[in-house]
């Protein structure tokens, strides 16, 4: 890994990083990846675990849940006429 990789990951994750932090993160990533890479050595077959968790289905019924519209909309960083306002996308 090099600084370019860290920058690319930060871009993918939409996180702004300062220059000095990029270096720190590079060395942290190297040490953590160095540790977790030990699973390469583990010899296991490709396996699909027969989990006890089954697919969960429910009827498509309308049920009202108790959300507070007021609490939700009051936290919009920007709004207009009760709608969430975001910057132009196109």
């Amino acid at each position: 890994m090099d600084i370019k990789d860290v920058e690319n990951l930060a871009k993918l994750a939409r996180i702004e990083l300062k220059e000095e932090e990029k270096k720190e993160l590079l060395s942290d990533m190297d040490s953590i990846l160095g540790y977790v890479r030990q699973i390469e050595e583990v010899n296991v077959e490709h396996s699909v675990f027969n989990s006890a968790n089954n697919n969960v289905w429910r009827e498509d019924e309308i049920k009202t849940r108790e959300f507070s519209r007021e609490l939700t909309t009051s936290q919009f960083p920007d709004s207009q006429d009760g709608f969430l306002k975001v910057k132009k996308i196109l």
Binding site: D5, V6, L9, A10, L12, A13, R14, I15, E16, L17, E21, L25, D28, M29, S31, I32, L33, Y35, V36, R37, Q38, I39, E40, V42, V44, E45, H46, S47, V48, F49, A52, N53, V56, R58, R65, E66, F67, S68, L71, T72, S74, Q75, F76, P77, D78, L84, V86, K87, K88, I89
Partner: protein, 481 residues
Amino acid sequence: MINLTTLTISKARKALDAKEFSAVDLASAYLAEIEKKNKELNAYLEVYDDVLDQAKIADEMLAKGESFPLLGIPLAIKDNILIKGRKASSASKILENYVASYDATVIAKLKKQGAVFLGRTNMDEFAMGGSTENSAFGTTRNPHDASRVAGGSSGGSIAAVAANLALGALGTDTGGSVREPASFCGIVGMKPTYGRVSRYGLMAMGSSLDCIGPVAKNIEDAKIIYQAIFGHDVLDSTTILDDLKNLEPITYHLKAKVIGVPWDLVNGEGIDAKVKENFMQSIKKLESLGFKIKDINLKNLDAALAVYYIIMPAEASTNLARFDGVRYGLHQDGKNLLEDYMFSKGTGFGKEVRRRILLGTYVLSHGYYDAYYGKAHNVRNTLKQEFMKAFADVDLIATPTAPFIAWKIGEKNDPLSVYLADIFTVTANIVGVPAISIPSGFSEVEGKKLPLGIQFMAPHGREDFLFEIGQEFEKLQKASL
């Protein structure tokens, strides 16, 4: 004066029902204690201003002759669990002023019983860490030695209960975040079976690992909290159906009284000699109770931590993508929407959170997915099978809870050395089994008596085994003091 040091939930229940003291008296006693100690310990991020009003409602219920196990009991709630109309920040700047718009299912259940919420407790930001040093709002200190960490990530909830700032608490455990601090602070912390407790209204970190668990002074109290919060929930489709009826009866006794110990791991490198010594003493005590100790050799157990530090950041990076400054939380304005995202996340997330998001993004990215995430899943499945096999021969598996005692604040700078604290706890999350940490004595370090804990893991769905061994172990512990 109510003696908070010796008070337990079950004792308080009796006293409240017998009108020896009121819920308001009890809540006031805790508020006074919080006032005295929280400044130093930093266990609570916020103490609610309506605690006495909540207690009054509990007293009204009591006056009507109602009684629930947690009616009028003052509890502390970890800051990543939503309570409608109250702040929930996950100890992060990005959610510093976020107000929850609904109740988590566990909260709704506690409210129904008339429990009193004292406040929200400190934690590692988004539950990422083992010491609460990653909180954006300061570290929680260990009540046994304020120069040391309380553990984490549920450090605030655990320190609150250990220092008599709450009678019980809720924490969350993704890789040991209830059990490790419980061990560091000398109380009981439990991680139920994956899916046993609803996570509706819990901020997700590693969705295939996260569990909400009880924090209490003893096994009986942990059981009371557990029984109040467990159960299937249509709002969380990962909860398991209440198939308890199909299990052998709850009064059942550990069948063969055999406890497995993965000696390879316990005797491995990096385990503090004091921890090992204390564990050996615990094992002797268990033998004196008539338990047979069996060496279990799980081939891939030592890979569990590596598996964990691939799967957890992968899931966390996905879950935390939602915090983008658009709908709620911190918003930093940029020239365009992309800059809004970059700046909001860049300033809102702390260092460890950024680290894990990048790590997760890496192991999920094209070209690395198979080598890391895919492989980790295969190893995880194999480990699950090894555990199921092991439980055919043993009732429980025991290990120390943590490989060392609580460290000095600021002592561990390198992230990997903190990750290694999870060596014994992550496995239960990876395979989904229930596990508990129980106080197993003290070790004297620099003139301070610091607590240690023993961890028991049980087969899927057998929380009752943990309570049973816990009660027996607790009795022995008391007798040996």
